[in-house]
Symmetry: C2
Subunit: 419 residues, 2 copies
């Protein structure tokens, strides 16, 4: 039987209270706690001042079993957090030989002398367990007091994540009989949340109590998060996978990937597996689709290139779109995107040509062709598939939704090849 | 003399504690409070449960003069927040005729009937002031109790921002003698924080006590935030502007804009003012520069288009980069980016041609040409200016820094025209 463990997250720093930076650490920590079955009951952001910090420590100790603290450490911040933790626990700052050794070695490797300020980083509350920070200078500090666990970490995100992944999460798993949890994200595109919910409602109702579904919608996509709670890792994993096997036949055309496999990544996998390539002709999406594709390492294996003909003249000159089509139907038309996709595919000797043309807004709309009207096309060498989109009044949203729809059209086109 | 006013921000919702979404509201609210001189002393995130909410209300009332609450409202959430606020203040949920009228009118305009659930949204704690939410269904609720101000708002960001900007901030300014504050962001590019600090240190030291400087570094840029505190709006504004006039001659080549004028926006202004145009040839930045440019409404006035020749063959075929240059010096070379910038400018009949070629990473590096090596070039019709960059091991960072450096090179090239 597992224990029910509560956690509180305390993020420390005046810069947070001034709104100068986004507190991404708290969100990340919340996700990680949820993944291992620890329930976050409170998140607190407090400034670099003694009274507030002590008040936050006191309140947290009454509410939570585990208290995770980020920020408030480092040579420029006077190490207030460290001193207050010592005061709070009634311990004193003591020299930790391990910590001193690590700080010394770090500075030697950078060819620098150890200054008194840096030496001070090796003084820690005597009741803590020193946790070596291999990717920064401020150490981690782990406390076990009065049945609670406290962990103090630097605020720099990649340092905090390193300490959590390498040290804290393994220790928490040892300290408590945590529920065994298995998560899987099922990523869908091309269908809205309520329609998706309708399609899978019977399956959802039949889910056992220990397997839960959450809908995580975002712009143009819906992620389904399936979470299984159990006592045996292998068994709960296969139970959840079995539920996914029952889900897939209900929505096969919408599922494009799992877990962290985003749409550009999924497309990269598809094209790589098939040894195929892509070329892009973007008008209204203005390079955004190319950016999503090229943001993925290794994309040069399947991306040949693109053209952004931002005016009709260049659609004509560079992509051979016929002047007659442009005159008769306009740039935002099915005929134009078909020509753009066809021509760019040939120009770049690619397996697929993908194109977009539309009115991103907020200006440029007419009664006949309003803001948010977008045509996309995908040519596979034999046929050209098109879609007409009616999006929003917001330029940024329209550019993003155009890219998602275009990548999905590409995905569907590629998979049809497989039939 | 102004009053010293403290605020606490409470964001409500289980989805926040699970880490499902980022709490952008709290950061935005913190910034807005800082702008008007209200000091945020605590931020709390709490779940949709009675005990935690009441505990949070109690603690906040002891710490702050102003309590801003977001989330926990809406038909799907059982309006727990509303009921608890009524209980907390010892009032009861009462029908507010104004609220009912507004809900009714909203549903009529959508051609829908008013359901009992929706009608319930017009029942509010009897001691509140009903604040109409013109951009959503959940109303705002303003309370003045025991010398404190409480404001409850929906969690949907654009609805919360609407209520804050239209209703709450004006009311707070009336309720308190807030310090008169004048902010200005000075945006710099092309210089690191410590070098910038050295260049302006004398000016910084001479700043009077009531005018403060904050450094806000981000990837490739440093924003300087100057904040003046006073008693007269016009006077403090002109004092701060005078300090900026003293700052400008120290770093003229690095300042590119003010307040919300990002680099793509600043370039748009420059080109529009001069009636000039731009074409892009991007290799390693893969469309990202084009995306930054075209993300700005009206960019079709100055952006003609771009080519993304992601393989050497296309640099040759589509941009006429000489095969000999590619063979001899490689794609990542000064000679190649010069040809790319020269050719793309002509192809698109643009005033300026801007190009990039490099090794974004993490793969693809060699000893001679390591990951992070990037060349950029800008041709103005007479001369071509180039820069060699040595960036990082991180692909995403390299793409972003390449774009910032390229846009800065364009900016500098355009301004030289003016000489």
């Amino acid at each position: 039987m597992h224990q029910s463990v509560n956690a509180e997250i305390i993020s420390i720093g005046d810069e947070l209270l001034y709104g100068q930076i986004m507190d991404t650490n708290s969100k990340w920590l919340s996700e990680e706690m949820d993944k291992i079955g620890i329930r976050v009951v409170r998140r607190t952001t407090v400034g670099d001042d003694e009274k507030s910090l002590l008040d936050a420590f006191n309140a947290a100790s009454r509410r939570a079993d585990v208290i995770l603290m980020t920020g408030g450490l480092g040579p420029t911040k006077d190490d207030l957090t460290k001193q207050l933790l010592a005061a709070y626990f009634g311990s004193s700052l003591t020299l930790f030989p391990d910590a001193l050794e690590d700080v010394r070695r770090l500075f030697e490797s950078r060819g620098k002398e150890l200054t008194p300020t840096n030496r001070g980083q090796a003084y820690l509350p005597s009741n803590c367990t020193y946790i070596r920070n291999a990717v920064g200078t401020a150490p981690g500090m782990w406390f076990e007091e009065a049945g609670k666990i406290w962990m103090s970490m630097p605020g720099v995100p990649h340092e905090m994540k390193y300490l959590m992944e390498q040290e804290v999460i393994p220790r928490l798993k040892k300290a408590y009989r945590l529920p065994v949890i298995y998560h899987k994200l099922i990523r869908t595109v091309g269908i809205g949340e309520s329609w998706l919910s309708d399609l899978i409602s019977e399956w959802e109702e039949k889910l056992p109590d220990h397997i839960r579904l959450a809908y995580l919608p975002s712009l143009g996509e819906v992620k389904l998060r399936l979470t299984g709670f159990g006592t045996d890792q292998d068994r709960i994993a296969s139970e959840v996978e079995e539920q996914i096997d029952r889900l897939k036949p209900l929505i096969p055309q919408y599922i494009y990937g799992y877990n962290q496999e985003t749409l550009p990544v999924a497309i990269g996998h598809l094209l790589t597996q098939r040894g195929e390539t892509l070329a892009l002709a973007e008008s209204c999406s203005g390079g955004y689709i190319a950016h999503l594709i090229t943001g993925i390492a290794g994309s040069s294996n399947y991306f040949n290139g693109g053209i952004i003909p931002y005016h009709n003249a260049y659609k004509e000159q560079l992509l051979g779109v016929s002047g007659a089509v442009l005159l008769r139907e306009g740039a935002v038309s099915e005929a134009t995107v078909i020509e753009m996709a066809t021509q760019v595919r040939e120009k770049f000797n690619a397996s697929y040509g993908l194109s977009s043309s539309g009115i991103a807004g907020p200006g440029g709309g007419t009664e006949e062709k309003p803001v948010g009207l977008v045509w996309i096309a995908c040519h596979n060498g034999q046929r050209c598939f098109t879609r007409k989109l009616q999006l929003t009044q917001d330029r940024t949203v329209n550019i993003h939704l155009t890219a998602v729809a275009a990548l999905n059209l590409l995905r569907q086109t590629v998979l049809q090849q497989a039939e």
